[in-house]
């Protein structure tokens, strides 16, 4: 079948998955004990006030009615109103998703810059000094808790050297990217470690392939061997891994966002769950599920471009 009809079929397959996700999150958030009305009104509210608030929020209506309202909202892009933030959910999500997307991009770029050269040379000179250093370095990076690394970076660059501000989100685009430097580094640690290992192993495997020896025997420069054959083939599994990591990062990192005081969706999600803010949690989970499915599809498409053996 052709490519476009494959893509179309995949998109159709997303629909039942999204429906199941919406039912699951709708039910699960309501199963947790805790009354959103009471949380909003605070400790000193009387039972009567809480009852009145429940009526106002429509919490006393049947689950079915509430679910229909939720689905209708998704379809009309009216995601409801946040209880804890007193804003339409859409207005709340837009700037925060932007922050998370920017953070994901920045840490992805950092990861790529670090892992490709190091991974390649570690693989090329397998068991050599560079390989040992890189492998130990990657292990160390993965073992350090992110909030600790984040704090150390802030102390060094923010307090002692005063090169960057201590957390927070900038006003202008330039300041915003500046405020993503330290969090980007912190978040890229895990991704870099995973990517380095992956690239290193791919490079080792591919370097042993016959066609690499054949390419060399044809007389191509080493640089061309590297770019056209080794890296291009190593890219396949690396790209898959990278896109999976991006999908994960787009879900937001509550630890990084809390430590660096970034208004992203990770912290929003956690705070909304604690505050039983049904509208926000439902919308976020729904969007996130959609993103993961979309990224899966994009990964498969890119895979088909990179690996000519894969055909639909």
């Amino acid at each position: 079948m052709s490519e476009t009809s494959y893509i179309f079929k995949r998109i159709l397959q997303m629909i039942p998955v999204m429906i199941i996700v919406s039912i699951l999150i709708f039910v699960m958030i309501r199963l947790i004990p805790g009354d959103p009305a009471r949380l909003v009104l605070g400790e000193k509210a009387t039972n009567a006030s809480v009852e009145a608030m429940r009526e106002k929020l429509g919490l006393n209506k049947s689950y079915f009615v509430q679910y229909i309202k939720f689905i209708k909202g998704i379809l009309t892009l009216d995601l409801g109103r946040s209880l804890t933030y007193q804003r339409p959910v859409y207005d709340l999500l837009k700037p925060r998703i932007k922050v998370t997307i920017m953070l994901t991009l920045v840490s992805t770029v950092f990861s790529l810059f670090v892992s490709f050269p190091f991974g390649y040379y570690a693989g090329k000179y397998k068991d050599g000094l560079i390989d040992q250093i890189v492998r130990t370095g990657a292990l160390t990076a993965v073992s350090m808790p992110s909030f600790w690394v984040g704090l150390l970076l802030m102390i060094l660059f923010g307090v002692k050297l005063k090169w960057l501000s201590v957390g927070g989100w900038g006003e202008t685009i330039f300041d915003q990217f500046k405020s993503l430097i330290l969090p980007g580094i912190t978040m890229s640690l895990l991704t870099s470690a995973l990517l380095i290992r992956n690239i290193r192993n791919s490079v080792v495997d591919i370097s042993n392939m016959d066609y690499v020896d054949f390419a060399r025997s044809k007389g191509i420069t080493e640089k061309a061997v590297k770019n056209r054959h080794i890296l291009r083939n190593a890219l396949i599994s690396t790209v898959t891994l990278l896109l999976m990591r991006m999908a994960y990062m787009l879900g937001g990192s509550v630890i990084t966002e809390t430590v660096f005081a970034l208004p992203g969706i990770g912290k929003l999600m956690v705070d909304s769950i604690f505050g039983r803010d049904y509208a926000v949690v439902q919308s976020l989970v729904f969007i996130f599920a959609f993103l993961v499915l979309a990224i899966n599809l994009i990964t498969d498409i890119i895979y088909s471009f990179l690996d000519p053996r894969v055909k639909f």
């Binding site: 947790i32 949380l39 909003v40 009104l41 605070g42 000193k44 009567a48 923010g158 201590v166």
Partner: protein, 512 residues
């Protein structure tokens, strides 16, 4: 000749420039236009009716004002938008004379109908978390010079209620113009500051109210409240100069900040006390002797030392000693006595000790610490405690439905009158007697009488009795009180927080 003249010119210029430098440095220090304050959380609503969290009240208190307010040392109640008042002999009618010429920050005058609307709205708002403060109001009649409030029942504590955040004056015309939802996002009040900019979850900028009724204040043009949830990050921002004032310094961080010579740490007396709340509807906590034994087995001094890092004091009475006029100085209480506790348990019919579960809030260093220390202290008296960590909302649900056995809660007074905490603890209908399920009808009636007693001396005596009775009931065991800890750059002057957690900003300034 020319050379000599040139020399004289140079010397003259040097002298002049020195003089100018001298003049400049002999002048007044320059003060900053904006002070940046780091706070723990953002506000959801800036409508005093809905604003229930500390994060919101810190802001609304700068914008909205009421008839009266607590005095700076919080020992009494002083005029704010009212100049003086009379209370009728039957304690049913409160009449206030208004300060003339008060305007909202947009320049519109405060009218009688604004007072009527604000106070009645506070009373009738079904979904307000602080409705209890306005519930005694039967009727409000106001014109531009006076406000007359008639109550449902005689009350000696109503002046205290009038200090509450929701009994402040708002502009009815503004409400009519923008509607309910926008009203909480565009506050309009008579206070020293008004809202300039609000970026959710990032910062709120307040600017000077040009129509403020007090001359010459507030000093600083703008206050920027930055939201920094993580305590470590907030502290680092203070150290790097990104913020100038840090709210809510965890006790464990105080010594580190103190050692920084560019930072000053502040501790302010507070009305905040932590309490051990026991559910008297479950065994073995339904036995009064058992509860009293538990109280005797707690080493409150040690608890305060460890959890508050020495910045706390043991508490025996339910009421904070900052409420100087009402605090009972002759409370008969039991000293820390493990053997005595064991003996009392045996007397109560539990010679082999007891066991129960404490449900505490997960993720809170203070509460978790208290639970752990209590567990080890109580174990010495044969009381086995199981600690159950619950997330905030689940915990709330548990104790509000009285399905817990014990928990640890806190109270912060909002006004200088004992009725706040007393009503909450004694009134069974409002909160199941602060989630202890103890329906002490006699105490409830006595407390209601104390609320109506206008004679100050008699009223003080009654509250002394109430404090003793609550101590003896031992359903709510006070643990310790602590101070508020803040920190600021040493360029900041006049940083002051009242025991009711209001930041006084009128004279707050920072040198450049």
């Amino acid at each position: 000749m020319k050379k000599g003249f040139f020399n004289v010119l140079v010397i003259l210029l040097l002298v002049l420039s020195l003089g100018l430098v001298g003049y400049a440095s002999a002048g007044e220090p320059e003060y900053a236009d904006q002070i940046v304050i780091g706070k723990l959380g953002d506000a959801a609503y800036l409508d005093p009716n809905q604003a229930v969290g500390v994060s919101e009240i810190t802001i609304t208190q700068q914008i909205y004002q009421g008839l009266v307010e607590p005095s700076e040392d919080c020992k009494g109640i002083v005029p704010c938008l009212a100049t003086d008042w009379t209370i009728s002999d039957n304690a049913l009618v409160y009449t206030f004379n208004l300060r003339p010429g008060i305007k909202f920050s947009d320049g519109s005058p405060v009218k009688g109908e604004d007072w009527e609307w604000s106070l009645i709205r506070a009373r009738d708002a079904e979904t307000s978390g602080y409705r209890f403060a306005a519930e005694p109001i039967k009727d409000v009649v106001a014109d531009d010079k006076t406000v007359t409030i008639t109550l449902n029942e005689p009350s000696a504590s109503f002046l205290g209620n009038l200090c509450m955040f929701n009994l402040t004056v708002g502009c009815k015309a503004h409400w009519d113009a923008v509607g309910e939802q926008e009203y909480s996002l565009q506050p309009l009040g008579t206070g020293p500051y008004m809202l300039k900019e609000w970026k959710k979850e990032e910062y709120i900028i307040l600017e000077k109210n040009p129509n403020y009724w007090k001359e010459g204040v507030p000093f600083t043009n703008e206050l920027k409240y930055k939201v920094i949830g993580d305590d470590n990050t907030r502290s680092l921002q203070l150290q790097s100069g990104d913020i100038d004032v840090m709210m809510d310094v965890p006790f464990s961080m105080i010594s580190q900040l103190k050692s920084n010579d560019k930072i000053t740490t502040y501790t302010f007396p507070s009305t905040q006390i932590r309490y051990f709340v026991l559910n008297t509807t479950t065994e073995p906590l339904d036995n009064q002797k058992v509860r009293q034994a538990i109280g005797m087995a707690i080493n409150k001094e040690e608890l305060a030392d460890i959890v508050a890092w020495g910045l706390g004091k043991p508490a025996e009475s339910l009421l904070s000693d900052t409420q100087v006029q009402w605090f009972s100085n002759n409370l008969k209480y039991n000293a820390y006595d493990v053997e005595g506790a064991k003996a009392l348990l045996t007397e109560a019919g539990y010679p082999d000790g007891i066991n129960f579960t404490i449900s505490v809030r997960a993720g809170s260093q203070v509460y978790e610490q208290i639970a752990v220390i209590l567990k080890s202290q109580l174990a010495e008296a044969g009381i086995d405690v199981v600690i159950e960590l619950l997330e905030r909302a689940s915990l709330s649900e548990k104790y509000q439905s009285l399905t817990h056995q014990a928990t640890i809660l806190q109270w912060l007074d909002d006004f200088p009158d004992p009725s706040g905490i007393m009503n909450w603890t004694v009134d069974y209908d409002q909160s199941y007697a602060w989630y202890t399920g103890l329906n002490d009808v006699e105490l409830d009636e006595f407390n209601a009488k104390a609320n109506r007693e206008l004679d100050l001396e008699k009223r003080v005596a009654m509250y002394n009795e109430i404090q003793q009775r609550i101590y003896d009931n031992a359903n709510v065991i006070p643990l310790f009180s602590n101070v508020f800890a803040w920190a600021a750059s040493d360029k900041v002057e006049n940083l002051m927080v009242t025991p009711f957690y209001k930041q006084l900003t009128e004279n707050l300034k920072m040198r450049k």
